[in-house]
Symmetry: C2
Subunit: 460 residues, 2 copies
Amino acid sequence: MSDHYRIYLEEDQIPTKWYNVRADMPEQHDPLLSPATGEPVTVEDLKPVFCEELAKQELDTTTRHFDIPKPVQEFYKIFRPSPLIRAYNLEKALQTPAKIYYKFEGNNTSGSHKLNSAAAQVHYAKEQGLTSLTTETGAGQWGTALSMAAAFFEMDLTVYMVRGSAEQKPYRKAVIETFGADIIPSPSETTEVGRAILKEHPNTSGSLGCAISEAVEQAVSTPNCRYVLGSVLNQVLLHQSIIGLESKAAMDSIDEYPDIVIGCAGGGSNLGGLISAYMQDTLKGSSDTRFVAVEPASCPSLTRGRYEYDFCDTGKITPLARMYTLGSQFMPSADHAGGLRYHGMSPILSKLYDDGYVEAVSVHQTKVFEAAVLFAKQETILPAPESAHAIRTAIDEALKCKKTGEEKTILFGLTGTGYFDMQAYSSYLAGEMTDYIPSDAELEAGFAQLPNVEAIRSSK
Amino acid sequence: MSDHYRIYLEEDQIPTKWYNVRADMPEQHDPLLSPATGEPVTVEDLKPVFCEELAKQELDTTTRHFDIPKPVQEFYKIFRPSPLIRAYNLEKALQTPAKIYYKFEGNNTSGSHKLNSAAAQVHYAKEQGLTSLTTETGAGQWGTALSMAAAFFEMDLTVYMVRGSAEQKPYRKAVIETFGADIIPSPSETTEVGRAILKEHPNTSGSLGCAISEAVEQAVSTPNCRYVLGSVLNQVLLHQSIIGLESKAAMDSIDEYPDIVIGCAGGGSNLGGLISAYMQDTLKGSSDTRFVAVEPASCPSLTRGRYEYDFCDTGKITPLARMYTLGSQFMPSADHAGGLRYHGMSPILSKLYDDGYVEAVSVHQTKVFEAAVLFAKQETILPAPESAHAIRTAIDEALKCKKTGEEKTILFGLTGTGYFDMQAYSSYLAGEMTDYIPSDAELEAGFAQLPNVEAIRSSK
């Protein structure tokens, strides 16, 4: 065992291939369906929305490894490898026999792991000769990451930012503008779907699902423009596999293997990436590591959602995905973990969860911030509220070990930093933060609006 | 030559000793003087203000290396070694034959190099059995760093934050509070000196010099309490020497040696630390590297100040230091580089500058932000406005190389990140930023209030 705090791989140890977990899954998730016909979508169907290479990645269930394009490898070198850190000080504070490691993806200006997929998506768009991209952002991390990649590869970018976030985080908006992207608070008057949503809910603070609708509408109605998404999609989990591949390489170098891997789960991009390399071992039967998805009690898609076909957006213009969902019309309450407010969950993670490979827990916001403050004081990193969900559960697992005396090895994903979330920290410190949990009735109202696939098919 | 973007030392290559450049200086700077008697201060004189070990370090001109205490070494491992980065992308954008390296000290929650000295100062205070500390902060980086170290070593802390900064940066304040420190906007009603300043200037937005006065007053009037300072002092430059030592070790590992070393200079903590190991070579005559201090045109202590004895604070309660100064009563205009608004400059750097070992340039704010935005887009790191002063000059030197064709090796200090400075970025992007340059008359008014050491001595 090493007594190193931080383990950095060498630059030439940064993975040169992404890993596609679907190639090792015994069963695939159900296919994406066209919202018009109810039939499985093809690469051709996706091409008006996504650039071609990404559309192919989205539907590829057999290619185990994808080469990371050279320009993306070069871009990765600006901020990767990211450190794997042993939380010695947190362990000491908890008096736990457990060993706690975290993979820290926040050491870049986007403040999160989102840059891993942003670089890839902008590169493929550039290669295809596109001139502009659209996207949405909630907490702002994806929008920042994409604006960084767009500035680097010289690509125009419009970001639809959830209105509530844009108002709460003017500085996040300023960062994105510094990198040269246009920001439009969503819902907006710019798109048909935005105007319709505003007409129905004039005072809405918006949602990710609604911002997605607007970004997709602009992409399909603008020449040489495509839409890119920072989570949920299979292509994103593919790109994020670099987190898990690097984590495994770093832990291998000190002869460690995690008993538990923990990640926060909003759309699933971080968790899917973090567990990837270890899940491969599990799927092959050579490991029995536990994988734990942590979600906020305020938006509990895995723990209280349904495994059904649903739209990926509020405006109901995207394909239907079978996933754990609260319904595309579910509007989460104002909650400080802006990145964990999506109504659904990655189809890959949904399938792995449904098949029993992944566990899920939901945690209350005030307990999350309690963990965040303890972690900051011990480890000197100010975590993003999203990441703090994983910290909460890592601490809870370490405290269980304290009771049982088990020396488990825990790995969690520290996806990002909380510099733009100080309003939330202030509210917690002032004792003004509350825990919101949706009622069963609220959830039922969301489920009631799930699409009826049979009806779509027969009406065709 | 390596083609690595980032060079990380191994954890066991983190220096275990700080380097005291005074041991190699041919001449020492003039001694600190008591403001009461005009006589050189002793360790005994400093002990009511500073903890004893730090008072010794402050006055030690002969010990070349100081062992870094084990607990501080352990603390360093949480965020060190910091990366040395080759700015390949910036070089490409500038089409310069120069090689540009930067030492990035912003990869910790304080967002700056300040944590290097904070850890040391809190450790020594703890070891001496003190229970609380006071300090001041301008931009907030030092206050954050110290609150992080205080939380870690379990020490109470009060931070006097320049009122203008506290109001402009409520989130910076929230970070400091997250780590458990008390924040008091300065000038305040808490201290005599604060009340006196408020009486004379009721609407002042404060200054570093004024916050220092308040923090010192509280320290000397509270049992088991001492004052700590994040820049200017010799002890701080000693602790910050780790930046230069690590830079040199990393560059040595790829057979590089800088022709020019560039750092921003407010009180001098970063520049003094960055140049330390290279300055040793220069002082020994084995190198002719150029050292460049970059200061804002709005607060030009080196380029337009006088080399005189002056107070280190506005309230005139600290010892007198001979340094380049604009006068302790100089109130810089509101400027976005909050960390570069100090009226004086480190006595060590002042002496090295006066003796011709260090050059100085002053740069305009809008040109600084122009460089910051270019750097962010190319290198994907959002720099602090302070650090962007060094970037501006590094770019200017690289552009000179483009004209002359010289393949110079440039090293600059990227002291920190700009997440809490987005108001300034927004103002720049909106074209609303102006360049302020103090008039000769304003400077003369500052010089007119310099203390008369002879008069102090003879009045004794």
